[in-house]
């Protein structure tokens, strides 16, 4: 069996990965495997190796931050984020706030944290609109919008998010608050 990358050498490394519900297989020779860094079975994306296959897997096309913006604390720039998909430090989440919620909605179908809060953050008042119900009403507004512009795929996704959130709402409602 020949290497799927260079087509010259004999393949010695056989990779299988589940991408979007389908099993994908790639056979590589030792050199190509090393070159592509796939001696690491958990840390690579098979889709990246397969030309043209599932290239839009991780980063959705959402612009985060403004052109030329950089973090005063760590020096991280918007270009760095485009390149790596990661931030430089905690402050970056404030600096590059522009567009961030869209990115998070695409990733998590949500843009607000619900869950554990460090103890010294608990006593102070919660930020506006951080409770679950407003999260749901936001989504309802987005849903109406999606239906209006006939983006039914987006609408279906929003409907699912709402159902899931309402589920969480129920669970949370029954849960006693952390004793404090």
């Amino acid at each position: 069996m020949n290497c799927d990358s260079c087509h010259n050498e004999n393949a010695t490394i056989y990779l299988t990965q589940l991408v979007e519900g389908k099993m994908q297989k790639v056979n590589l020779c030792g050199n190509c495997a090393e070159e592509k860094g796939v001696t690491d079975p958990t840390g690579f994306d098979l889709a990246d190796l397969l030309e043209g296959a599932g290239t839009e897997t991780t980063t959705p096309a959402v612009v985060v931050g403004e052109d030329g913006e950089s973090c005063e604390f760590c020096g991280f720039t918007q270009v760095d984020f485009k390149k790596t998909g990661r931030f430089g430090c905690g402050h970056c989440y404030q600096v590059f706030r522009e567009g961030l919620d869209n990115l998070l909605e695409a990733m998590h179908r949500n843009s607000e944290h619900h869950g554990k809060v460090p103890e010294h953050f608990i006593d102070t008042a919660p930020p506006e609109g951080s409770d679950l119900t407003s999260g749901i009403s936001d989504l309802h507004a987005l849903l109406d919008e999606a239906i209006k512009i006939e983006d039914y795929e987006e609408a279906a996704r929003l409907r699912d998010s709402i159902a899931q959130l309402e589920d969480v709402d129920k669970v949370l409602g029954e849960e006693p608050k952390k004793p404090e």
Binding site: G21, R86, G88, N110, H113, H114, V168
Partner: protein, 367 residues
């Protein structure tokens, strides 16, 4: 502090203890991602900054009550093979093993808790348990997290939650995953359906890859993909619910195979037995897939249930770095195949021939 050699001598405790549903769920894992405020994330920080952070974080981690008598080491002080052993045991990530200055790992003696310092995030705390015990695994971590939080200033935002280097981990920073053994769904060609269904409801399914072309040993890892917007309990309960459904499906698939294709099953298990007991050269993929068939045989009553531990341990012990630690030298692929066969034969020496009476009778009783 524990030495590396001590750590190596014992297989992880979770491999040798029973857990709920451990015929199908091999292990449950939770990891939390945490960062300190006022420090650049490890991937962006300069080496000196990473070292400085290590000096702050490491004592707090080592002083945890859970980490008394722990193994604690900087990644630069471990050889490539030693690091690989930790990866093969799921104690550190591949990414962490590949990192250099300022990166360290602290893990407890029974290898159920491991804390990576300066991985992609300043702290990656993970807990591993046998069988399906996601909530239990989380409770252990939650307590550790509380202790660390009281000493270390975490990067936290009221809106976004725990801040992480990659926005995909933002919010709870929690990734819950379970390793499922699904030979029934694979043999009956239902696995892709299952994976697609899981994907549809926002869960990721990954194979246990490596050298094999098929999902190796019929093992699949299922985990949450989103970390923001749902609280920890909801994430875990959701995954738990889905896993329970997959367990039902797997059980049904096995029952149906026993009913419809008993000879095929006997043949698969019998061949696996013969090869593993008597082969002198065995490639990783072949060994893994046959071990999966033996595991299935155990679940179906063809072998003694006590052998399940041996299979769990073997799945790790036959991995390349483990073989080379055993041999105390570097081995090429051909040499590994020979040593692998030897180790498998040794471990399975007392495994008696498969007995299928139970399987066929159970089938009749069910009718």
């Amino acid at each position: 502090m524990m030495r590396f050699s001590t750590l190596l001598r014992k297989p992880a405790e979770w491999m040798r203890t029973d857990g709920p549903h451990n015929d199908i769920v091999v292990s449950s894992r939770i990891r939390l991602a945490r960062n300190l405020s006022e420090h650049a994330f490890p991937g962006w920080a300069h080496p000196e900054e990473r070292l400085k952070l290590l000096d702050i974080v490491r004592p707090a981690v080592e002083n945890l009550p859970e980490m008394q008598d722990a193994f604690s080491q900087e990644m630069t002080k471990l050889s490539a093979i030693e690091k690989q052993v930790l990866v093969e045991r799921h104690l550190v990530s591949r990414e962490h093993a590949a990192k250099s200055s300022g990166c360290a790992t602290v893990m407890n003696r029974n290898q159920s808790i491991s804390i990576m310092i300066n991985e992609e995030d300043h702290l990656r705390i993970q807990s591993l348990r046998p069988g399906l015990q996601l909530m239990k695994a989380y409770q252990v971590l939650d307590k550790i997290d509380d202790e660390l939080e009281s000493q270390l200033p975490y990067a936290f935002d009221r809106k976004y939650g725990y801040l992480t280097a990659c926005p995909t981990n933002l919010g709870t920073g929690l990734r819950a995953s379970a390793m499922l053994h699904l030979p029934g769904l694979v043999l009956s060609d239902q696995i892709n359906q299952t994976i697609q269904a899981a994907n549809k409801i926002g869960l990721a399914v990954r194979g246990l890859y490596g050298e094999g072309t098929e999902a190796l040993a019929n093992l699949f890892q299922i985990s949450n993909q989103t970390t923001l917007g749902q609280d920890e309990k909801s994430i875990i309960q959701h995954l738990d619910k889905v896993i329970s459904r997959i367990i039902d499906n797997e059980e049904n698939a096995r029952r149906k195979l026993v009913e419809d294709q008993p000879t095929m099953l006997q043949d698969q298990i019998g061949r696996a037995y013969a090869t593993l007991r008597f082969a002198y050269i065995i490639p990783s993929k072949e060994a893994m897939n046959f071990l999966s068939m033996i595991r299935l045989g155990i679940d179906l009553g063809a072998f003694n249930a006590e052998e399940r531990d041996v299979i769990n341990v073997l799945l790790t012990e036959i991995q390349p770095a483990h073989l080379q630690i055993e041999a105390k030298r570097k081995l090429n692929a051909a040499e590994r195949d020979v040593l692998r066969a030897e180790i498998v034969r040794r471990h399975l020496k007392n495994l008696t021939e498969p007995c299928f009476d139970d399987i066929l009778h159970k089938d009749l009783d069910d009718e």
